[in-house]
Amino acid sequence: MLFSSLIFLVYFLPITVIVYYSIPTKRLDLRNIWLLLASLVFYSWGEPVYVFLMIYSALFNYFMAGQIAREKEMGGSGKRNMLFTLVMNLLILGFFKYWGFLMETINAVLGLHLQYTALPLPIGISFYTFQGLSYIFDVYRGKVEVQKNPLKVALYLALFPQLIAGPIVNYKDIEKQLDERTCNMDRFGEGAVRFCIGLGKKVILANNLGALFAEICLLPDSRMSLVTAWIGILGYTFQIYFDFSGYSDMAIGLGKMFGFDFKENFNYPYISKSISDFWRRWHISLSSWFRDYVYIPLGGNRCSVPRHILNLLIVWSLTGLWHGANWNFVAWGTYFGILLILEKYLIGKYIEKLPEWAKHVYTMLIVIISWVFFSITDTAQMFHYLAMMFGLGGVSLANMTTVYYLRTSIVLLIAATAGSTPKPAEFIRKLCDSHEKLGITFIMAVFVMALAYLVFGSYNPFLYFRF
């Protein structure tokens, strides 16, 4: 089930909210059970079989965390059990997500024709596997108490607001909220507003921007031009931001509606002034996960320069691979790894001296190019698109198709540019504070408009089917 689907908005969410708030505040245990049941229904909507995997993962991590904690209490290190749990979790993720990729690579490299079946990916498996591992690692390191109640571990992993597109919630951030959290009308209202804004970002902006990019990708070379190629990739640049940050807004908003506080996942990444700055603002929960559980254990930056460079390359290749089982994602991650190394050791000091606008142009240029690697999985097509963007594909600078796309999408692109800065959010906040009724009317209008798009529009892509 997707947040941006009518079944979720019209049936699932209202029923879940009504039953949740019908349970007395004091019975948080019952509220948790209800949320867990709702989350399992939410998860099983598309593929009922994989709900078993979710339950298995919860039980397995619950038992293993218990054993690691017990072993530590008895004077042991718990390392072997931690490694066993890590291997099992990665085995599950690898089997579903990377088996086909591995076999395809083996066949290609060795010239073999081994038969295999690439399984459909259980939705959100990368998110809940990483959440499970964060719990295990934190228990192993003694940063959190082991959870005695298996239902709470299951709720932590399966909680539907952040299940399919994040943010990745670390157990230490939610541990206390499983036992005690505040649910009141103020927080519910705040969450509902955040949810509506996220829905608007996804349905009104991201879907239309995605349709623009998809349309341009389908154009024959004879109708393409350099400027059209840039319009297309700008469409995707904004699509992925509004789609992903919209989903995060919806997740954070839904969390608040049920009394949870999730950390922010995006902080206006497109106003960044360097690549390092961009990655402090983009998909923050994933960057933090890799920093805490891979980069720092590898030695981080407290080591020799060659080792630090190796650490960065490992982390960024893995970050790329996390986004999808394909070499283009590895290339995308490594591209950022190399740029971060260059910023750190070579060009960072020069970038610092640039005027603010130049820093911004530099960052956006690199980010926009990266989305070509990310969005087009076929290597030949990817390089062909890049060539067109830089006038190397034998295409004209602009043509009538360019004029058509400029005329039809300029408003959307301007709205997207404005929306990726903090100004509109500040405006909405001020509006809600100073003119409450006007603010509510505005939010309601966004919600109704998003619903109308969902009812009458046909293009509603789900970008996270690879995650």
Binding site: Q67, T117, S458, N460, P461
Partner: protein, 180 residues
């Protein structure tokens, strides 16, 4: 004085032993977890087994074993986007035929997802297409609505099959025969 063995104490010792992380009980629990996972993965893998078939072969099988080309026309990637809301570039291969006559709802869609990707989005898009078609035809075209309500949607491995037609199940079977 010889101590007699207290059965309760012995049982408690056994329980304590079984809760010992290095003990046999825990070892067996780990084996159980591995066995359950292996069993599940085997069942899922066998259930998802679908041959890696080029959609051109399925196209040929449909043309040979059914009469669908008489009414259905091959649709472009743009049509796929317009009517189903799917971007063909996101998938390995797509086969999409539709009856383009006014008031016709017949269509056949076969999507082969890229390896390592989920087909859930395809199924969601197909279900939405059926719902929107039912909404559009409700009230004045009962035959079409009936046909839409009997539409065949099937997910097998990395394929999704969708047919709205008089003989929707026949089309589905032809595709299934080709990939399984």
């Amino acid at each position: 004085m010889n101590e007699t063995k207290n059965p309760m104490t012995e049982e408690m010792n056994n329980i304590k032993k079984s809760r010992d992380p290095k003990g046999l009980g825990f070892f067996l629990l780990k084996i159980l977890f591995i066995a359950v996972l292996a069993g599940f993965l085997f069942v899922v893998y066998k259930g998802a087994e679908a041959e890696d078939v080029d959609l051109a072969e399925i196209d040929a099988a449909l043309k040979a074993d059914t009469e669908f080309t008489a009414v259905l026309k091959d649709q472009s990637d743009r049509d796929l986007m317009q009517f189903i809301g799917l971007n063909a570039a996101d998938y390995e291969q797509v086969l999409y035929y539709r009856n383009t006559q006014a008031l016709a709802v017949d269509e056949v869609l076969v999507v082969k997802a890229k390896e390592g990707t989920s087909v859930d989005g395809v199924e969601t898009a197909v279900r939405k297409r059926i719902e929107s078609q039912i909404t559009a035809y409700s009230g004045y075209a009962p035959e079409q609505v009936k046909m839409l309500k009997n539409a065949a949607v099937k997910k097998v491995g990395n394929y999704v099959i969708y047919c709205t037609a008089d003989k929707a199940d026949k089309y589905k079977e032809v595709v299934l025969d080709a990939i399984q």
